[in-house]
């Protein structure tokens, strides 16, 4: 296994920059997810690590060795593709053996490794079948097996779960995680699904517009988003971002005000809010909003627009002044559309972003 390092990597398609000055270090045995909306540059980044695309600038290092000019086959990487990319005319056994044959391994060694991978992934009974005779989940395992037999330094995975149905995806998610734990493999995993990144990765690199927005553990990315984009991208439903302006006066010495409502802030938050050059975006996750049936000091009034029960939790779409936001309540708490509620925000979990730069304050 190996570490991967990207240093100031750039890649453009014509005028547009797909990856803009990306630097990223992936430790030996680490599971890193590159996550972001489509067009954020995550797949381009992966293809550059694989050697399928050549960077316009910057260096890619695997285990300290610069690989920019190496062919994919000489980089000692294996790749799992979104559509599995199994060879349709070859049996599962031959699919697994193919990368080893291409490297000219001895027949006995090939057979040994194929059997080992098949046992590990529980596809031993499928070895003589063709890919089209397999279910999506089985194909996924074969694709994983084909990467595994190579015993590569780095596994590159390009949205490997996105073609599976929801139930199977959850199952494969935990299988992949176990795969990583068993192998202690270095994995670079591309996904547009923040939940996949959150659940599997040791660290997640959130990208947008070809730029790295934040690179940290899922817990920290969730709890301390570096900017408004990360805040809205990570977590579902998305964090509420409410444009407000900073006010002076009142009991606490200041606060924030939106269209038709105002809220005092504790001094520490207020000081941070005052750093903003223009307006402020107030960020609050649905779980950090508490709802009261009647007015109390430090609450703001909101109207319930819709109620969305999901079983474990009920989401409420609320109208606060001139903005909408999402809050949640336990399913036992019965709330009807049109009802009036009073909100308090958990100040410890309140986020402030500069409205102009969108950076966290």
């Amino acid at each position: 296994m190996a570490e991967v390092r990207l240093a100031n990597v750039r890649k453009g398609y014509g005028e547009a920059l797909a990856v803009d000055d990306l630097s990223l270090s992936i430790a030996d045995g680490e599971f890193v997810a590159l996550v972001g909306p489509s067009g954020c540059g995550k797949t381009t980044t992966l293809n550059m690590i694989a050697g399928l695309l050549e960077p316009d600038g910057g260096d890619i290092l695997i285990d300290g060795r610069r690989v920019n000019d190496l062919d994919p086959k000489d980089r000692d990487i294996a790749m799992v593709f979104q559509n599995y990319a199994l060879y349709p005319n070859k049996s599962v056994r031959k699919n697994l053996a193919f990368p080893l044959q291409m490297r000219g391994l001895a027949r006995a060694e090939i057979a040994r490794r194929v059997d080992e991978a098949a046992r590990m992934l529980d596809i031993g009974h499928l070895l003589e079948r063709r890919p089209r005779e397999l279910s999506g989940g089985q194909q996924q395992r074969v694709a994983l097996g084909r990467a595994l037999v190579r015993e590569p330094k780095v596994f590159l995975m390009d949205e490997p779960l996105s073609n599976l149905d929801a139930k199977l995806r959850v199952q494969m998610r935990s299988e992949l995680k176990r795969f990583h734990q068993d192998l202690k493999a270095t994995i670079v995993y591309v996904t547009h699904d923040q939940l996949e990144a959150m659940t599997m990765a040791d660290r997640m690199a959130v990208m947008q517009g070809g730029k790295l927005q934040q690179y940290d553990t899922p817990e920290r990315v969730y709890a301390h988003p570096a900017n408004a984009f990360v805040a809205s991208f990570v977590g579902s439903p998305a964090m509420n971002l409410i444009p407000v302006r900073v006010t002076d006066g009142g009991v606490a010495g200041g606060g924030v005000a939106g269209g038709g409502w105002a809220l005092d802030l504790p001094p520490e938050l207020l000081a941070r809010a005052r750093q903003a050059r223009g307006g402020v975006l107030l960020g609050i996750r649905h779980g950090a909003i508490r709802l009261l049936p009647s007015a109390a000091p430090g609450t703001v009034a909101a109207e319930v627009l819709t109620v969305e029960p999901t079983g474990d939790i009920t989401f409420l779409n609320l109208r606060l002044g001139d903005t909408d936001l999402v809050a949640s309540v336990p399913p036992e708490q019965l709330i009807a559309a049109g009802q009036r509620l009073w909100l308090t925000f958990d100040m410890a979990r309140l986020h402030l972003f500069d409205a102009t730069s969108e950076r966290a304050l």
Partner: protein, 292 residues
């Protein structure tokens, strides 16, 4: 079932036309093949002879010679056109300057009328007045005119060359279409797996082209087996029957010598061979469809 009754009504006009222009001629050819017909158009004077016509066709030396020619003509034309067309498709599959123009030029033989092309080639290959022969002499390759078409040893090969020139663009278009459907991701996967360009071609591209190759080859075989225009216009089967194939012999029998009974029996034999080929064609297609 009752509800489907109207459906038959909708296809009735098409069925009627097909019965008129396909089923009836087939049946009448079969019927006529049992008769000895007079060498004129007075078909009411025909005499029933049973399978005599078939016996005469299958026993004739000229038919045996034509059969060998037909086999060589069909197989060689198909094989060469396929190889040349596939090669052109591979060359055109990667982008380069002037690709569109070259593709257009290579397509020209296919879109030219076969009769016009055959006439032009007849003159190009003419022993005394032809450009190719003159070129060979001017460059010193030969000291005397080359007989492409008036020589029993070279006439069939010359016809095959013209036929290949005429139909390789068809192969090119078919294979180019096939090449463009090779999944990019498979090629990338093979690249990461360590396969070089030749191995990617052999392990990914070639298997992917199986279906389109099969269809192309079978269509070519059928077209060449029935390929009438080029041999007929260029040589009419000559010299001395050296470029005679089944279809030109049938035409000559029927409309040259007005032997409808004999020509009908010959046609029925050709029809049977074609239908057998058609059977394998359909079976191969259906089999592959099921497999994939």
């Amino acid at each position: 079932m009752v509800r489907h009754r109207a459906d038959y009504l909708y296809v009735a006009p098409a069925v009627l036309v097909m019965v008129l222009v396909i089923a009836y001629p087939v049946w009448f050819t079969f019927y006529l093949s049992m008769f000895s017909t007079p060498p004129n158009l007075a078909l009411e004077d025909k005499i029933f002879v049973g399978l005599d016509n078939y016996a005469r066709i299958l026993g004739a030396d000229s038919v045996h010679e034509a059969s060998l020619n037909t086999l060589v003509w069909t197989v060689a034309s198909t094989a060469l056109a396929f190889v040349l067309g596939f090669g052109a498709a591979l060359a055109l599959n990667r982008p380069f300057r002037g690709r569109g123009l070259l593709r257009g030029i290579l397509l020209v033989p296919y879109v030219i009328s076969a009769v016009a092309a055959a006439y032009v080639w007849r003159w190009l290959l003419h022993s005394d007045l032809g450009v190719l022969s003159a070129l060979a002499m001017a460059t010193g390759l030969r000291s005397q005119p080359f007989n492409f078409l008036d020589n029993t040893d070279t006439v069939l090969a010359s016809l095959i060359m013209v036929n290949v020139w005429k139909e390789f663009p068809f192969v090119m278009i078919m294979m180019l279409a096939g090449l463009q459907t090779v999944p990019d991701q498979l090629l990338r996967a093979a690249q990461v797996d360590g396969a070089g360009p030749w191995q990617r071609f052999w392990h990914i591209t070639v298997p992917h082209l199986g279906n389109v190759s099969l269809v192309t080859v079978l269509l070519l075989l059928a077209a060449n087996f029935n390929g009438f225009t080029i041999p007929w216009v260029m040589t009419g089967g000559g010299p001395a029957g050296a470029s005679e194939i089944w279809i030109t012999q049938i035409y000559q029998l029927a409309f040259g010598r007005i032997r409808f009974g004999l020509a009908s029996a010959y046609s029925v034999i050709l029809f049977a061979v074609m239908m057998t080929m058609g059977y394998f064609y359909v079976r191969a297609l259906v089999g592959r469809d099921r497999a994939s």
